[in-house]
Symmetry: C2
Subunit: 449 residues, 2 copies
């Protein structure tokens, strides 16, 4: 596809190239355009049919959009943005520098400008910031055929017309009818008789992740957003909910690997931005690990006397880190999907301690066997097996407890539980491992010495 388009471009076969582009869906057209040199972008973009051009523009990344806006005449700018939905326009505006924003806003209709400003004023991460203000609003006294007329009249520009909301004269949300209800009903039935009055809605300040979770849970195509007086101000559609869900999961994946979330894709992000996003936590964790190192030096005598002690250190630290990260991942995801809450801490601890006991015992048995087999015949073999066995059980129990307690505590303190994931936890566990291990070892060595 790319080769074909490139050949057409080189041969200046613009009509054929336009036809090729017109046969694509917007995401594919945007992906194809991203493959071409930036210089020819405005030229190729102008070959797209108007409707597809606007949809493709939405799918592009901010750099391409900025470049295109720079190349657009005011008329072209207006043509593209007139066809965009308010929520898409807001998404684009949020990525642009101030001078570009001013040009965009200047070329919008008054009505659209008002709507954009309204959405822009809602806090990031709120339902208000992702809602669209374009929806079908009906009145209870309308008939089904009135409703159809209303849908037809206003429907073209609406992002979704499949759930229509019924409002009273003061725009209070009083019910909803689906397009399905309308299609299956006789034309003279009143909307008021047809409508579902139990409407689940979000407020403009509801967290957008909560809104997405409601849409997922109830299998909605859209969720109405109301202000503090239950007046309908917009809707969040299922496609935006999916984006919120995947974005939130990707952010958590990054945070749980000690990376600050990034806006752009892997390849689009430069070396230094990548380095910066990963450096912060690496530095914090490196310096914390130095504490563990300092503690180790306090036990120089112990491992100078028995160097074999050090041989179990990677295994103990690794197991502690892994057990902790298992428990913390369970908690972080449990909190994210609303399955676990901070008040469950007692239940969770009790459960994790029992799981820890089962796992700790099993690992200790396997490890004791391994030490017997590996170091069979050495005089300190029994002592070593005993010390690592006891440490292993203690480490598993502590790692499991910390692993569930830290994310729940973070949530309680309104911090992000995902930050309490494996990397931080492993560092804390390492310190515990060293302290427990060398103390138990010193204790047994004194007994035996």
């Amino acid at each position: 596809m790319k080769e074909k388009a490139l050949v057409l471009l080189i041969e200046h076969k613009f009509r054929e190239l336009g036809e090729l582009l017109a046969s694509l869906d917007a995401p594919d057209a945007a992906a194809l355009l991203a493959e071409f040199p930036e210089e020819v972008l405005p030229l190729i973009f102008r070959l797209l049919p108007k409707g597809l051009a606007a949809d493709t523009f939405v799918e592009m990344d901010a750099d391409m959009q900025k470049r295109l806006i720079g190349a657009f005449s005011d008329l072209e700018l207006k043509e593209v943005f007139d066809r965009l939905f308010v929520d898409d326009t807001v998404d684009i505006i949020e990525e642009m520098p101030a001078n570009v924003v001013n040009r965009i806003i200047a070329n919008c209709s008054n009505e659209k400008r008002r709507a954009i400003n309204e959405v822009l004023s809602y806090p990031d991460d709120s339902a208000g910031s992702i809602m669209t203000i374009e929806y079908v609003g009906l009145k209870a006294q309308m008939t089904v055929s009135d409703a159809f007329m209303a849908v037809r009249k206003t429907g073209v520009a609406k992002e979704t017309i499949y759930t229509c909301y019924v409002v009273d004269d003061d725009r209070h949300l009083i019910g909803l009818v689906t397009a399905k209800d309308l299609m299956l009903s006789e034309p003279d039935v009143k909307v008021g008789e047809l409508m579902e009055t139990r409407v689940i809605s979000a407020s403009t300040h509801t967290d957008k992740k909560e809104v997405a979770e409601m849409i997922r849970k109830y299998d909605f195509l859209a969720l109405p957003v109301v202000d503090s007086e239950n007046r309908l101000v917009g809707i969040v559609t299922v496609d935006d909910a999916i984006d919120v869900i995947t974005e939130a999961a990707e952010d958590d994946f990054a945070k749980m690997a000690a990376i600050e979330p990034m806006e752009n894709s892997y390849f689009k992000t430069g070396i230094f931005t990548h380095s910066r996003k990963r450096m912060v936590w690496l530095l914090v964790l490196m310096l914390s690990a130095a504490v563990t190192g300092a503690i180790i030096t306090a036990y120089e005598e112990a491992f100078a006397a028995l160097p074999l002690l050090i041989a179990s250190l990677p295994m103990l630290m690794g197991t502690g880190g892994n057990c902790g990260s298992q428990a913390s991942t369970m908690m972080i995801r449990g909190l994210a999907v609303g399955e676990v809450e901070p008040k469950d801490i007692g239940r969770v601890l009790w459960k994790e301690l029992r799981i820890g006991a089962v796992i700790g015992l099993a690992l200790a048995v396997v490890n004791t066997l391994r030490i017997f087999i590996t170091y069979h015949g050495r005089p300190d073999c029994l002592m070593l097996a005993l010390v690592t066995g006891i440490t292993l059980i203690a480490v598993v129990l502590i790692a499991k407890s910390l692993g569930c307690a830290l994310p729940l505590a973070a949530k309680k303190l309104h911090l992000d539980p995902a930050l309490m994931a494996s990397p931080l936890l492993a560092t804390v566990c390492d310190t515990c491992v060293v302290l427990i291990y060398f103390n138990i070892a010193t204790l047994f060595m004194n007994i035996m010495g």
Copy 2:
């Protein structure tokens, strides 16, 4: 809500309890029912209005469903399952023991039984296994008003009617019209003139994650599923796509924390299942870590001569693990969302090596400063700073390279990239750290000694 319902139950106010339940949505009703003792479940379930009862049944967990089916008469069973969609019925059947499945199938209509068997025969994780075979099929020669009639006639039992598919006489998929198109068109326009002929479809054997990703990417409400001869056999709806996306992300979260994915929620899963799901990887990783331990013992002399060497080990192993997990998380998620492919390995390695160089240098500088400040005055201070600095840079470079290479290699070999996440990688990195560190240390000690 729970208290109120419980009081009504205790006071035998069944009519009020029924009204209370009828005011709930299915997911909330299922959640409420889960709070009651199992013994009264059939009693309370029978208070639900028929339609809500079926929807609530779908939302329950397998244990509650099994208990209810056990209490149902054949008539009740038929009443509930007649109202369920085929894909929901299949989901339930897959969780039930054979005798319960037989009872369910025996009480289904012939048509439904055929449909269930068809869906059941598709491989797990395929589009066929999550599709619904209930969709609106139109013919090109129909008019808009014919189409409306068809929607009305078949629409009640269809999971989604908002995207109607146009098939020819041999059921080949030739186009689609949305309910929006139908609602905005004149009644006598032909469907054939209205339909979009560029239809994106999946095959019955397409991976369900790919299908979900297509629905997300193109903002579809449904995606048609065709057989090998392009005959329409079903559709996958957006609500199922969201479930596939969230389930896949949760599976990856678990796998990346060395936990085998679980079917049930955290609290519903027993201690021993939890232990088993976490034990496998812990054992593998524990035994692998023993290799690192064995390597350490080969360098006993080195750290017996300079015990301070051990102090940097947790920091080096921790940093290696963290750097590796940053890179591997980037790759695993990049692969999952289709942003990175195995063939990108060259580009990725080159990028990660440069990021590694920036990060490695920065960390080495900070660490050297730290060692100077902490151990200022000790004769081996300079040597230690040099050795850990060089090791740190090498470790970061190796961790970053392994972190991106392992998941890409796994994908290439058709293994699950998520298994190459932090825990396994950290263990591999630990071995590298020990080898590099002690070799460099021995080298410099010889030079200096």
